[in-house]
Amino acid sequence: MAAKSALTAEAERLPLARALAGRRALGRLLIADRTALAGLLIVAIVLAVAVAAPLLAPHDPNAQDVLNQFKPPSAQHLLGTDQFGRDELSRIIIGARISVLTSLAVGAAILVIGVVVGTVSGLAGGLLDGAIMRVVDVLLAFPSVLLALAVAGTLGPGLGHLAVAMTLVWWVDYARLVRGLVLGVKEQQYIESARALGVSGRRLALRHVLPNVAPPIIVLATLQTARLLLALAALSFLGLGVAPPTAEWGAMLNDGKNFLDTAPQLMLYPGLAITITALGFNLLGEGLRDVLDPSLR
């Protein structure tokens, strides 16, 4: 732990935590931090598009019109058309739905799994903790994307298989984080007092431990979503996940790579979409981290 100089200690007599009593203060601070705000905006827009995709897409994303392939942007096709004459903008919009919602679904699954495992491991201690952590270490000893690649590749094609593979691989970050947090909280006095009052295990976990452990988890969740999005794009680029002609950002990049000289713009749009979305989540995550732990600013 870094030893704070007497000077810093003297200056920060009013810790931010005290000022943050109450979510209203948090909200105000979040608005004040421009990075977080920018991230929040981007995420909100993307989510809105993803959810309302079928309503927003001007054309059927799978409608082919081979006579009109590789058309430049026009009034009818704002982003032009792809190699099969399909409207690029519609494909991007529908792609948002699949890419973003899949990432969020996997994200939610790994959050639950990771938190449960981490909490159990942290609170239980002893052999169970040791065994679980050994599994976590092994899984972390290996780059996640490659592992997911191997698992998904073995399971076979399809978005479902891909989602399962990703879930099986990415829950470990949460588990390790939550376990660490739980271990820290376990040593606090109020846990001792609650225990002394006879509060049971499950109640202890839900009411006393989790609320104090929430902020770092939230930060991780936003950043993890960005990572999942990028991993999903990479894996579907490699041919896993959705099958053609379904529109998904990674798959669209896989298609586009064949037309680098004739229509390089087909690589541009899906890539930009992924980048902007991931950027949004990253900004939000970084902003949240700044708010919740300003000493890292």
């Binding site: 000077l7 000893a141 780059p143 191997a150 960005a226 990028l230 980048t275 991931a278 990253n282 890292l296």
Partner: protein
């Protein structure tokens, strides 16, 4: 010394776990491996007797645990089976293509370190200035863009439009540049962020104030006193960086048709070459563990506090 021994000993169960992992992954394969093996060799699905014979040949009629142990016994000796697609020994294939991956990874890391670390340090030392924000923003954007997409953008610009550099294969420096840059940029972003946050922490330590109180100009405080300590922290993260490299390089290798083990693995997955997939997981896992061990040992050597059996106070007063 005991620390080193303990550390090495800890590796063995981890390595065993990785082999188990690889084995289990292969077991996930849908369909009957004996059937697909036969089909691959003979171009048609097997009859019932042929199927039974193939299963016996491949040792698939034995219980899972025994199969694992036999496979493990082979793996420890370096025999990771035979590739379904090429018919060659997996170990041989991996080893012959590993140098190419190593070359790419080294070039990319060199680039990343030269670019990323100084940027991270500079960004940390002038808090909240323009350079800090630009670096942070830059590495955030680079970190949000899919690495393979950046690779293609580079290809489009330098290969297709400008016709300056080749976009695939090996054959000298010009072929190495684009893939190394594609890989290195993403890595540089990661290193810059690691370096910056580590440096920020170090700059808040008290001995930095002491250094200033000695009258050292700010640049010396940063580079001579600060950097040394923040490098320690970054080095421990090299394991993380290396893992990142391994993952990314597979995709980069596929894109640029670079003959490394990553491309081998992706092809193996596409062709359902399970021994190769297994072997790849074990091989990469082993390399990964060894790299982490090396990093730990280097860190031990760098940080004077963690030396052979940390002794502290020699005398009182």
């Amino acid at each position: 010394m005991t620390y080193v021994v303990r550390r090495v000993a800890y590796l063995i169960p981890t390595w065993l776990a990785i082999t188990l992992l690889a084995f289990l992954i292969a077991q996930l394969a849908p369909g009957d491996p004996a059937s697909s093996y036969f089909e691959r060799l003979n171009g048609r699905p097997p009859g019932r007797i042929e199927l039974a014979r193939t299963r016996h040949l491949l040792g698939l009629d034995q219980p899972v645990a025994e199969r694992y142990l036999r496979w493990l016994g082979q793996a420890v000796q370096g025999n990771l089976g035979t590739s379904y697609s090429s018919g060659l020994p997996v170990t041989h294939e991996l080893l012959s293509r590993f140098p190419a991956t190593l070359e790419l990874a080294t070039a990319a890391t060199l680039l990343a370190v030269l670019l990323g670390v100084p940027l991270g340090v500079i960004a940390a030392s002038r808090r909240s200035s323009l350079l800090d924000h630009v670096t942070r923003g830059g590495s955030l954007i680079v970190g949000s863009a899919p690495g393979f997409w950046v690779a293609y953008i580079l290809i489009i610009v330098f290969s297709v439009k400008l016709r300056l550099l080749p976009s695939f294969g090996t054959g000298g420096l010009s072929h190495l540049i684009l893939p190394a840059v594609a890989l290195g940029l993403a890595e540089a972003g990661l290193l810059a962020r690691l370096g910056r946050s580590s440096m920020l922490e170090v700059l808040r330590e008290e001995y930095i104030t002491t250094a200033r109180a000695k009258g050292l100009p700010e640049w010396r405080v940063t580079w001579q006193h600060g950097l040394r300590n923040s490098l320690n922290a970054v080095v421990t993260q090299v394991g993380l960086v290396f893992g990142f490299l391994l993952a990314y390089s597979a995709i980069i290798e596929v894109i640029f048709v670079w003959p490394g083990i990553g491309a081998l693995a992706v092809n193996a997955i596409n062709q359902r070459d399970y021994p190769m997939i297994e072997g790849f997981v074990v091989f990469t896992g082993t390399v990964f563990i060894l790299v982490n061990l090396a990093v730990d040992l280097i860190y031990m050597a760098l940080d004077p506090r963690i030396s052979l059996g940390s002794q502290t106070a020699t005398a009182a007063g």
